[in-house]
């Protein structure tokens, strides 16, 4: 895996064969019950959220998801949430805090949905709230970058106590295409951009942006090892006094 070039990693992260957010949820969470809507404007299909159990422990899950076919992808804007999606996630995360449930956030997005309505409905404000409120939630909060982790739309749900990445995933300030177009006014230089962005899990682990790389799972794989791994991680965090949890989270981001 380590000998993949940055661009090969980009392609792998975007591959339609990747395990979907929905599959991960059904493999990891028992008795999952989906909860809809942001209680204000709508129910963004690009964000799935709900409650269930991770190895018997109650948990709240929020996830950004791409579609599996064209119809789904159009509904979900290819995994790009609208403000309503971030507000739904935030609503469910606050609810998790109220009931002392840990939070698992699964991220697979090229970035927030860039259109006129998203601007009108305050996409910037929605992400800002996810960051400000999300980072202060007094419950364990773990994020996994499953495939693409693009820009502000990704960090909105990737600012917890621990951040993990799948082997075939990427995390960057901007898509390689966007970077090439901004930096060199040439969106064809995607390969160079992928290198320059240092968006691979190995690099991000080395620089402390993420905490661990998760072995790549494929459709149909047994997720038991991942389930146990996450349950252990949550237990470690749960055993910390809340103030210590908050202190560690603060330090995690203060150092950047």
């Amino acid at each position: 895996m380590a000998n993949k070039t940055a661009y090969e990693r980009v392609t792998a992260a975007r591959s339609p064969k990747k395990m979907t957010t929905d599959e991960l949820i059904s493999g990891l969470i028992s008795n999952f019950f989906e909860l809809h809507g942001d209680r204000s404007d709508g129910d963004d299909q690009a964000v799935i959220g709900g409650v269930g159990r991770l190895n018997d422990q109650p948990i709240t899950v929020v996830g950004i998801r791409k579609g599996t076919d064209t119809e789904e992808n159009i509904k979900r804007h290819f995994g790009s949430p609208e403000p309503e999606g971030y507000r739904k996630a935030l609503r469910l995360m606050k609810q998790a805090e109220k009931f002392h449930r840990p939070i698992l956030a699964l991220v697979n997005t090229p970035g927030a949905w860039p259109d006129v309505d998203a601007e009108y409905h305050g996409i910037g404000s929605a992400i800002a709230q996810c960051l400000q409120v999300g980072m202060q939630l007094r419950v364990p909060y773990i994020s996994i970058i499953v495939g693409e982790g693009g820009s502000g739309g990704a960090i909105a749900l990737a600012c917890g106590d621990r951040v993990f990445m799948f082997e075939d995933s990427i995390y960057s300030v901007l898509s390689p295409e966007g970077y090439a177009s901004i930096m060199w006014k040439d969106s064809a230089k995607v390969k160079e951009a992928a290198e320059a962005l240092k968006l691979t899990p190995e690099w991000l682990l080395k620089t402390g942006i993420i905490d661990q790389i998760i072995h790549e799972y494929h459709s149909g794989d047994d997720l038991e090892p991942l389930r146990d791994f996450l349950a252990n991680q949550f237990n470690e965090l749960k055993n910390l006094p809340v103030d210590e949890l908050m202190r560690q989270r603060h330090n995690r981001y203060r150092k950047f």
């Binding site: 927030a112 949905w113 860039p114 259109d115 006129v116 998203a118 601007e119 009108y120 409905h121 305050g122 996409i123 910037g124 404000s125 992400i127 800002a128 709230q129 960051l131 400000q132 409120v133 980072m135 202060q136 820009s151 502000g152 960090i155 909105a156 600012c159 995390y171 960057s172 300030v173 901007l174 966007g178 970077y179 901004i182 930096m183 320059a196 962005l197 240092k198 968006l199 991000l204 620089t207 942006i209 989270r249 603060h250 981001y253 203060r254 950047f256």
Partner: protein, 281 residues
């Protein structure tokens, strides 16, 4: 007879006269497109026709807005780990133009004898982009304000994340957000003034986290860039869809304040949030 009185100067003479006219003597407003003598923009640098506030350096803004201003962390600059030549050249030029070492000027200002922690982003410093040191300066400002029980006034002007610093730029959004929240939890007042342009990662973090969010007249305020949106929806977005006047209609700005009223407005709002005015204290 008339001809003898109004003699047309020769072509060469005209050219010579043109060369003697200083550059930038006239200015065009990018919003209302009126043309006027630059001097008429005045010390505040505003359009005499529509009131649009031109982009100004952070240092100028500190001077025209506060009674006194004492800079903090003036030596914090782009970390040494970044060595890309083109980027370094940009930074060097930015330092020269702006007189500061990162895209935000921070300090302690006073308005009508009230002390306030001030952050002013500089649109001329690599587009006011959010570098690691920008985030660091803002966080230190909020930490200082929290420690000293001061309100924070932040003027935002930014093209968003700083591409050259990659993921570390993105992390600043999280880093600053938690400093804002700690300040807020201490019961302190945070006021944002959105200036032209406020976009990208700055909009998606501390620009939208104020207790009160003001905007300068006609300031561009948005998250995604116009071109990106155009490519996504395959048509031209409405002309002013990211102007402060549009954003306020959608409920994300408390008030639009022309630059000429800024000082007065800030003084009023700050005085309403002083400890002496808080009930039960």
């Amino acid at each position: 007879m008339l001809q003898s009185r109004f003699k047309m100067p020769s072509r060469e003479e005209l050219k010579k006269r043109m060369d003697n006219i200083p550059d930038n003597i006239m200015k065009e407003c990018p919003v209302c497109h009126s043309t006027f003598f630059s001097m008429r923009a005045g010390k505040q640098r505003t359009c005499p026709n529509c009131g649009f506030g031109f982009r100004i350096t952070a240092k100028r803004r500190a001077k025209i807005t506060f009674d006194s201003f004492e800079e903090l962390d003036s030596d914090v600059t782009v970390p040494k780990q970044y060595t890309d030549e083109k980027y370094m050249a940009k930074v060097a030029k930015a330092k020269k133009v702006t007189g500061i070492k990162e895209s935000v000027l921070t300090g302690i200002g006073t308005l009508a004898k009230m002390k306030v922690a001030v952050g002013i982003m500089d649109p001329f410093f690599v587009m006011g982009s959010l570098g690691s040191a920008t985030g660091e300066k803002i966080v230190r400002l909020f930490e200082r304000a929290t420690r000293d029980q001061l309100p924070v006034v932040m003027f935002t002007a930014s093209g968003g994340a700083r591409m050259q610093e990659g993921i570390n730029s993105l992390m600043q959004m999280a880093k600053v957000s938690q400093a804002v929240e700690a300040h807020s939890k201490a019961g302190l007042f945070y006021l944002v003034v959105l200036c032209d342009p406020t976009t990208g990662g700055v909009t998606a973090s501390f620009a939208m986290q104020g207790d009160i969010i003001l905007a300068e007249s006609h300031a561009l305020v948005g998250f995604a860039g116009r071109r990106v949106i155009e490519q996504t929806i395959m048509k031209q977005p409405p002309k002013d869809f990211q102007r402060a006047e549009t954003v306020i209609q959608h409920g994300f700005i408390d008030a639009i304040v022309p630059r000429s009223d800024m000082k007065k407005t800030l003084t009023n709002l700050l005085s309403l949030h002083t400890k002496e005015n808080a009930n039960g204290e």
